[in-house]
Subunit: 352 residues, 2 copies
């Protein structure tokens, strides 16, 4: 039996005395997630593609340079203002491929359904996936369906994986950021997380806050023609903008400085964050990207982004600095500086 | 909200009056699964790659011919005689790629962990995945980890997707079977399902029945050099040999005749099947394949398979016939004939 087979293997890299069991926070996108993934899982599978800790892997097969990515969606509730788990699962993987510089092509869909899910809900989810695939210009080409007993799942979980083709000459990577690079965000942050939380908490606002979930490949295709200085692309999902910037600062061994007043946040989202006690920098987005761009190209790229509907509110929010490598510092609206740490613990479980 | 958006969409192809909710049997690998997948999911996503209803999709990207496949593993228990969910999740996708004629290259891993899973169990699973990837000669290059609240999952579910490269000149497809083709099974059937069920039922046999879970890419690489007449490859997992043969008979619009006396079944597995009331033809395998081979090459391919450890007990078990298209008929050990239908309802839930 397997128990015996592995008893003499290497010691678990997560100290079991501190963490005898997996906690919700191990999946929250913050420090514990990062520790679990980098030391135990990616650390043990170790290979050059994984070592990049990209949104996806960049691999070569038959002479083609491909991006390959996967994500499981365990969101609760499965229907939310602005979307449902179906389109989220397609756009999420489309965006991860896009963040590797790839043109997304093919998507797989793995369904884990809890016995008792209303058939009509499944049908609406399937339709949303098809519509999302059409909008993003990808094909869902393969899939798998499993059903688990009542009480052993939660309605539906969906895993998608995807393959994208990387045009020659494109190379983005988290460790490619250089001091001087400007950091652009494609629009108002924190909408997805707040849309979900307002449903969970039963909050009502004057207008419904909708998830921003959307495919970012079209926006990125508007950026590449105007610049060869796009260094890093990242969609700040779980853990929000703050966690994404911390990961990049860590990979690139650079410092990052952002400016609070330049970060676009919708007024209602800001109000909801205050009400709920959240910092918008840590709230998940599903249709926004961060681009690290050579300083001399930043204005050109920003202008190109603003011509696209998904980049209309794009803004330069900061820059890469040589100081404080690995650390993100924010100039606050009152002019002081504070460290923006990686999310620790669990802020918004099951947000995607 | 999504509810309203889709209310005027097409009608659900599954009659909701008959099936208002998803049943366990919709994931069992039999008739209801087939109906759900072919009419609702694949039917709605419709595209040429999906229409093949292969173990994976065959796609072209950047000039390379690729196989792309996904599977979610929701097996219970997660540790079983002969393996655990970790190696199962790697071998399962390796085998699906192999059944497309591909050389498996890259694997993704998506973990959905229930809060409270012992960290030490996760570590054993991660180690098993790495060992399985090494044995199969593939790299786990990308992944995702989600944690769901206690009671909303079941220990751990793993999704894997994979990319394989199809060497030029290889073309296998479920609809490529032709009357006269011989059907080869690579070894004794029904071991995986019985290994799982014997744990669940607390059965004890003289020797422990082990799962057959294994990577089949090495075996297939021993077959291709001796024949250009390999028409169909299929690994008979959920739903067993009977369901796989029915799917192929349906795709190829041919009849299939198999011979009960020629089907290799281990004596203890046969005994366990009798005790549990199962027909071994419907029990899942995780390290066996069915090959449909041109009649003139069948003996050569069989001999090549027998030189490989995973094909030592390979046998020719039947042939494709022009009669009764879409139907599988078995000559029984007492000389009569009976129809071998696709599994209906739920035989072995959560077997993989």
């Amino acid at each position: 039996m397997s128990t015996a087979d592995l008893s003499n293997g290497p010691v678990c890299p997560i100290p079991i005395s501190n963490y005898p069991n997996v906690l919700l926070a191990h999946g929250g996108g913050g420090k514990l997630s990062h520790q679990l993934i980098s030391t135990m899982i990616a650390g043990h599978f170790d290979n050059p593609a994984l070592r990049q800790l990209h949104d996806g892997a960049v691999v070569t097969a038959g002479g083609a340079q491909l991006a390959f990515s996967t994500d499981s969606y365990v969101i609760s509730p499965i229907f939310f203002p602005g979307g449902n788990i179906g389109e989220l699962s397609v756009y999420g993987t489309v965006n991860d491929l896009t963040m590797c510089g790839a043109v997304p092509k093919f998507i797989s869909a793995g369904f884990i359904i809890e016995e008792g899910l209303p058939m009509e809900q499944l049908w609406r989810i399937v339709q949303a996936m098809k519509a999302a695939a059409d909008r993003a210009g990808v094909q869902i080409v393969t899939g798998d369906t499993k059903v688990v007993d009542r009480g052993k799942g939660d309605g539906i979980f969906i895993n998608t994986a995807g393959i994208g083709l990387i045009p020659s000459g494109r190379a983005v990577a988290p460790d490619a950021a250089r001091p001087g690079d400007r950091i652009i965000v494609s629009g108002e942050i924190a909408q997805h997380g707040i849309a979900i939380m307002s449903v969970r908490e039963g909050l009502e606002f004057e207008t419904t806050i909708l998830s921003d979930c959307a495919p970012l490949n079209g926006l990125v295709e508007a950026m590449y023609p105007v610049s060869s200085g796009i260094r890093v692309l990242r969609d700040p999902t779980r853990g929000g903008v703050a966690s994404a910037l911390n990961e990049i600062a860590g990979s690139a061994r650079c410092g990052i400085r952002i400016h609070e007043q330049q970060i676009p946040v919708n007024a209602e989202v800001r109000g909801a964050c205050e009400l709920l006690g959240f910092d918008p920098l840590y709230v998940a987005n599903e249709g926004k990207l961060l681009a690290f761009v050579a300083a001399e190209d930043a204005d050109t790229v920003l202008a190109a982004m603003r011509t696209h509907p998904l980049g209309a509110k794009a803004a330069i929010i900061g820059e890469v600095v040589a100081d404080h490598p690995g650390t993100v510092v924010m100039t606050t609206s009152i002019g002081s500086s504070r460290v923006v740490d990686m999310l620790s613990g669990e802020q918004l479980p099951r947000i995607c």
